[in-house]
Amino acid sequence: MSADAAASGPAAGLVVDSVSFPIEEGKLREFAIASGADPDAVLAAGVLPPTFAAVAGHWRDQAAMVEACGLDIRRVVVGGSEWEYGAPAWIGDRLTGDRVVTDVQTKPSGMRLLTLTTTLRREPGGEIAVTQRDTVIELPA
């Protein structure tokens, strides 16, 4: 973390980290069962579960993200997440993308709201498969 980030907080445009992970049948089945879903129905549908991009968490260091953004981990909570679906991606494809700070708001209370956007492209092909936006909240000190 730079001294500037610590002093003034993160700025929109900061690339926090990059991720690249394979879509695997075993992981998909595990994710479906953990979500209370019928794994056979999910596999038969041939469409990724709506929040499957969350498995990118396996491949990223969340504590390092908090530090890179200049946030105090003791005061950080996640406010929400949203996903936008593009090109279909499935078992055998790889999802690759950067996680970028796309919005920063500081409230009069000192609370900070960051939007982190991860645009995951399908390989092969390069089309956007899913865009995930997470709202990270740093509560006032």
Binding site: S35, A45, P49, T51, V55, G57, H58, G80, W83, Y85
Partner: protein, 121 residues
């Protein structure tokens, strides 16, 4: 199409641990009881992403897995082991292809998550 109205089985510690493995979230607050209690919690609690995934699957099954264009959630309250969730969804008036969603505790009705979904035209 009728509205979404599903009650889930209780969320269990085993399910939380299963989701930790599936999604790669090993924050001890969600699986280590002594750690969670030392941090002032009554017990471990579910990740918001677990509740988002439970609702997400119900919504995908309801609206059609290949028709979903977008899905979003806001986390409102903690889900504890033993909580059954009531998942509801309904079309938004005047906005074709947009749906309002909610997950609430079956016991007491506390809203744990609000959300939305959109479908392709």
């Amino acid at each position: 199409m009728s509205d979404l109205d599903v009650t889930t089985p209780p969320v269990t510690r085993t399910q939380i641990v299963r989701f930790a493995g599936a999604a790669g979230d090993f924050n001890p607050m969600h699986h280590d009881e002594p750690f969670a209690q030392a941090a002032g919690q009554d017990s471990v609690f579910a990740m918001g992403q677990l509740t988002a995934a439970i609702l997400g699957d119900a919504v995908a099954a309801w609206l059609g897995r290949d028709r979903l264009a977008g899905y979003g959630v806001r986390f409102k309250a903690k889900v504890l082991p033993g909580d059954d969730l009531v998942l509801t969804g309904a079309p938004v008036d005047g906005e074709p292809g947009r749906y309002e969603l909610q997950a609430a505790k079956a016991d007491g009705g506390e809203v744990v998550l609000t959300g939305w979904a959109t479908t392709r035209a």
